[in-house]
Subunit: 429 residues, 2 copies
Amino acid sequence: MEKQELNKLDAQSGTQAIARGDITAAELTAACLERIDDRERAVGAWQFLDRDLIDTQVKHLDGLPKDVRGQLHGLPVGIKDIYDTYDMPTGYGSEIYTGNRPPWDAAAVARLRAAGAVILGKTVTTEFAYWKAGKTCNPHDISRTPGGSSSGSAAGVADFMMPLAIGSQTVASTMRPASYCGVVGFKPSFGRISLAGVKPLAGSLDTAGVFARSVSDAALIAGVMAGRTDWNGEARTDSPSLRIARTPDWDQVSPEALKAFEGAVSGLRSAGANVLDDAAPEPFKPLSSAQNTMLAFEAAREFSSEWLHCRKRLSPQISDLIEEGLAIGPDRYEHAVRERNHALQALEDLFAGADVLLAPSTLAEAPPIKEGTGDPLMSRAWTLLGLPSISLPCGKGPAGLPLGLQVAARPGHDRRLIAAAQWIEARLT
Amino acid sequence: MEKQELNKLDAQSGTQAIARGDITAAELTAACLERIDDRERAVGAWQFLDRDLIDTQVKHLDGLPKDVRGQLHGLPVGIKDIYDTYDMPTGYGSEIYTGNRPPWDAAAVARLRAAGAVILGKTVTTEFAYWKAGKTCNPHDISRTPGGSSSGSAAGVADFMMPLAIGSQTVASTMRPASYCGVVGFKPSFGRISLAGVKPLAGSLDTAGVFARSVSDAALIAGVMAGRTDWNGEARTDSPSLRIARTPDWDQVSPEALKAFEGAVSGLRSAGANVLDDAAPEPFKPLSSAQNTMLAFEAAREFSSEWLHCRKRLSPQISDLIEEGLAIGPDRYEHAVRERNHALQALEDLFAGADVLLAPSTLAEAPPIKEGTGDPLMSRAWTLLGLPSISLPCGKGPAGLPLGLQVAARPGHDRRLIAAAQWIEARLT
């Protein structure tokens, strides 16, 4: 195998090559580091990366007997810098916490280590996983945003710096950067991966997410983090039943994104999928607005310490969100919670017999960096309901940049989502 | 006012006396510290308490102009040592984190500071808010447990060391110590108080709680933490509709606790309350067991870092829980989640027109310390469903120790719960 191309291996091929003895964890990691050396100046995916810490891990892993090796043995993983790490600084994308040293690993990071992953370093996040962008550029066009908030994780996987990375999603922070960067993003059902040691943005919405270059790789790493042996299974062979989720925000999708989406759906129909298509039921209409209300109200609570002790070091973006939240009265918040619960009780109507829902991942391709990290609208309602969702690369926009197809299942039906997404992935060109 | 009795003031009388200029925050705090000096050797409520830190806070507060004083101005509050504090060590009841210095306040603590509370110190928690007891004794009988996990907070408020304290509840960790120590405990609806900066035990269940010596004091402090101006209102004057929640575990309540409960209910009925009484509907039967499954499965995730890096420094209690959780397959966990969701969808059947549910807070009075921190059974189902609940002192057991009456409302109906609990409190003798 050409050593200089090892960084392009998908995760499962990587561990298999190590298991066969064709390559070592050291070689795989070295290839990723070489790619980072070449490209980091342009892409800016990394907040922290230390070669000595990596060396120590890799030597330990290559020395492990085969019978005690984990599912992710030797695979380099990028960690969004809102996940605590006991051996690397964790700054949450905020100047307030520059050089902060947590006393633990985030639970999800510890599970990656225990499974033999190489914790490569910390990837760039927007400030507190909200809107203020970090230094990362879209690897397909460095004048464009990679999307936020999991910017460095998505860009690094897209640019072949590593096969796997982890992020999070409170609004659209996994689906959107995955779509803009042309990789697979997977946000499991709400609550299935521990967020112990992850800085909260809005507790009712915050969810872990992962990035990979295939659905099965994404399912592999997410399954390790969640302790779910059932996620990493085979693709379904029979054709799934799909439903186009025509939410009230549908008319805001750009013509180009809609064209790519409709092309994909038509291909899936030709491949044998049953595709249902009608308007979303009534209880789903207020969800985007309810999601925004809950986000602002909860963010104003989560950042009470920063608001009290170091308000001036918060960006205008997060300060505005906190002020918006502080102005929301309890009745409006409880009303939003009831709207969510009402929609959850009507979930079967939304799916109406389909295995999964389909929608464009974003309104359009990645906007120029100066316009921000992109619009999260297409994921608001699904995040609010805690649906597991996957973004698959799906066509290109007018500037030649990636677009995404978003697939979602009922909460807790992660395995069904993965199987359907694998079926779809194999049929998208 | 007798200075030596200031520690017995309830919270609202305390702030009002300060507002009138009758006393200062320094005097109120000094009285509490004097009580602590007298009693701490016997009770053992405190994990950390530093007079210099207290002095600095009190001087600052007494110097504040009246027009910028907060709702909790000058009130000493005890903080369970699973809540991070930026100026005091936070050890989570575990030797692993002795001397740990968080870079922030837990969000709830920051809100207390912003409202003018005196952060008195850190109160004893069981290890990670689970079962391994700390040094705290029940102030009514030091051979008995104060209950766990919020042991020091409940005991300190009961023993007049401070008017207010905060704790948490994952199973019964607010209701049970409140009941055993004879004070009011209030656990708001799931998700209404931020747990940013609080060490998780099981993310789907963890909820903030508070201790006080009256319902209105408990509502005052919880309202500040939640940002809920609506919680701190007047008692209802019309009689509420109550329903005895005869869960499947009902037959495990001790005859003495049942007698106290029935006496209280009969008094409420005489005072004009409509009391409904029939068996809980079918969907509520598996909830205690589902709660235990979710607790163990999630705890095994939350403590992934400690399990990987310092397993030998965990107690047998928490290690057993983690091992139990690691052995639970994904199907069993998802089944428990579905059982919870099914019961939530049938919530109106459980309440059946009543404003609130009633049950004994615990199976019996506080057991001897050597038997552990007491049985959490009576709160398992209600915590699982995220119901807001309040424990009110209600009679005594055969050893002359306090018992409690537990009141719960629908999720999000915290104001209705508070109003009903105030009505009940005024009619319990």
